[in-house]
Symmetry: C2
Subunit: 386 residues, 2 copies
């Protein structure tokens, strides 16, 4: 097990009818900017619940944060924060709204030339503007971590940011919200959380026995509840386990003391930036090819995953490892998620080269668990995923 | 899954040679009271490491906190805190020293008549004097939770306390410390952590699928590493997993959204208070009888535990559940832990009645997961454990 430092101060308020608890979490004298996305919260009743809970504080609204939160839109919100002397941010949404809010939390206190530097220069935020979240879409885990990913259409870029000052002060997780989520988004959420776990688990072994088992626990739970969630989102038990699994998949816990890979995310982000493919789907596209391309390095853990998570008991280590990749792809297919780039876009030729070029231009000489995958390796992997 | 609220702000600094990081965690202008136990830290080099890391802050020492931290001793430490205007506490020790430090953190800011009221009247501490810990004995999980148990010899009492203000600000977990722990203490630590998980897991099912699997993960890991830790405490992988498992067993995470039992602890505490039997051993004494006595209520989860943790695949649900209890007792025996009261003390007659009487006198009408076990039930359980 590697050395680590871990602190996660986010307060989780979990369960049925918990949105009303918002009232106790926001400082009485706060001036709140309520941030949300495309407006679905106005149709499913969440907006009303939030507004009722906030009736005794001053609130200004900023809606319209798009999936893959867009820098230009966020800059408009930043103007509102500055002009209105906002003191507290409240994200009501999924990962995109929460990530966008984290960027705003950082940008609101940033005193450099342009807030884009936070992303371009990987500036860590030690203390941002305080914010909380009401999660409406289980998927990214952003509700209990300090990272965010921001997109800039202008330059077709998608970059990460973070820092210890960007944990939500609180996050309200009411599993009832999933009843109004479209099937497509549910499938994305399941896939996203599943892949988050794999990025932190499918790596070279360092004797993190407990971390491995926690990761396997989340994977097993997602596999168990996925068909139930898709079939009946009103199933409270399934919804609760779905929501809590997504949070635990990326709140930092299973990453402690073990290597992370994250190469799938690095390549996936480019597919979203280039073609607008849903984040989760880009992961499902890249992941199988990544594991096949790096089979030798990963086969030990792949076989363990096959045995413990998919109950594959027959065959050699190699066979178990290959069967585990196949099982994973089948799981995505079962959710209605395609796993080849050509199933999403016709004009995919040159994509691998473009991604390789972008990595080179950014100076990314090595990605993945060993920081050893070159831009050329990324090109090969993406090509395999066509 | 039940509703829950969870926040755990303790910063964990984990790994080899991390004690030196203490320097960065204590405020520069602090006046520190360094608390420790019987002085073993002066033999194993930990004291030197701590003193070196603290060389630039003002430090006063208070040693001699006994196992089952004693109220009278802690009151002496409280005098030091007040007379010396201490501003920060540092616990260097195991659960007893850390629990004692939590009491002091609460008592230092308490303005009632007598600090014993904090225990007697279950007063929750919202904000205590800040403190950190350097863990020298993995077992209780106190290094990452906000609870403590304090003993008062004068009245043969052992009572719990806690509150959101009693999380350590940081805890340093260097697995190397276990190389100097006597075998008896290692066995106690393994048993203690194992039982902590069972108290939060061996309860009526509420559909906490992920919580169940996390609990099972810790149990499986403890079973896997127990013989390695006992045989060779210098095995870094085993030591690391041991230490992290003990912390995760009682940092609140696996308790979220599911019922807790804790009846074994309630009865066990009395055995320590009456006879001075090591805490972990009292749990191993009471636990099998508790599960047999409450077999009908617990057999579903017992059978699941048997299947998933002990790989018991044969037999009916009842048979699997019984086999699981037997496996657990065998595990304790393998660690050199006896599981009958008569193996610890000769003069045990009347113990069950005495415990029953104490519960009645304290007004404890019902303990356990359903709060339904009466003092008479406790009497029957303890009798079965003779």
């Amino acid at each position: 097990m590697n050395n680590f430092e871990y602190k996660n101060p986010t307060k989780i308020i979990f369960g049925k009818d918990t949105i009303e608890k918002l009232t106790n979490e926001i400082p009485k004298n706060a001036k709140v900017l309520l941030l949300y996305g495309g407006g679905s919260i106005k149709k499913n009743g969440i907006y009303e619940q939030v507004k009722t809970a906030l009736k005794n504080v001053e609130v200004i609204e900023f809606g319209g944060i798009p999936a893959n939160p867009e820098y230009a839109v966020l800059m408009e919100a930043l103007n509102v924060i500055k002009n209105e002397n906002i003191t507290y941010l409240l994200a009501v949404g999924g990962g995109s709204v929460i990530d966008g809010t984290k960027f705003l939390s950082a940008a609101a206190v940033y005193d450099g030339d342009t807030p884009w530097d936070i992303l371009k220069n990987s500036i860590r935020t030690q203390k941002g503007m305080p914010f909380g979240t009401v999660l409406t879409l289980p998927a990214t885990g952003s509700e209990m971590n300090s990272g965010a990913v921001i997109t800039r259409k202008e330059t077709k870029e998608k970059l990460s940011m973070g820092g210890p000052g960007l944990f939500p002060e609180f996050s309200i997780l009411d599993p009832k919200v999933i009843t109004s989520i479209p099937e497509r988004q549910l499938a994305n959420g399941l896939t996203d959380a599943f892949t988050h776990v794999l990025e932190q688990y499918m790596t070279y072994p360092v004797g993190g026995l407990l971390q491995d088992r926690f990761a396997e626990s989340i994977l097993q739970t997602l596999i168990e509840i996925a068909p139930k969630v898709m079939e009946d989102p009103t199933d409270h038990e399934a919804a609760s386990n779905f929501m809590w699994s997504c949070t635990m998949a990326l709140n930092g816990l299973i990453q402690q003391g073990v290597p992370g890979d994250w190469a799938v995310h690095m390549m996936g982000h480019e597919l979203t930036a280039l073609f607008g493919i849903d984040h989760a789907r880009t992961l499902a596209i890249v992941m199988p090819s990544h594991y096949i391309y790096n089979f030798e390095a990963k086969k030990e853990k792949l076989a363990q995953y096959g045995e413990r998570v998919w109950n594959i008991t027959e065959g050699t280590q190699d066979e178990k490892a290959k069967a585990a990749i196949a099982k994973t792809e089948a799981f995505f297919h079962q959710l209605g998620i395609d796993t080849k780039l050509s199933e999403y876009i016709k004009d995919y030729e040159g994509t691998a080269q473009e991604i390789s070029k972008r990595f080179t231009n950014r100076g990314w000489t090595g990605i993945g668990e060993h920081k050893s995958l070159t831009p050329k390796d990324a090109e090969n992997i993406v090509k395999m995923a066509y």
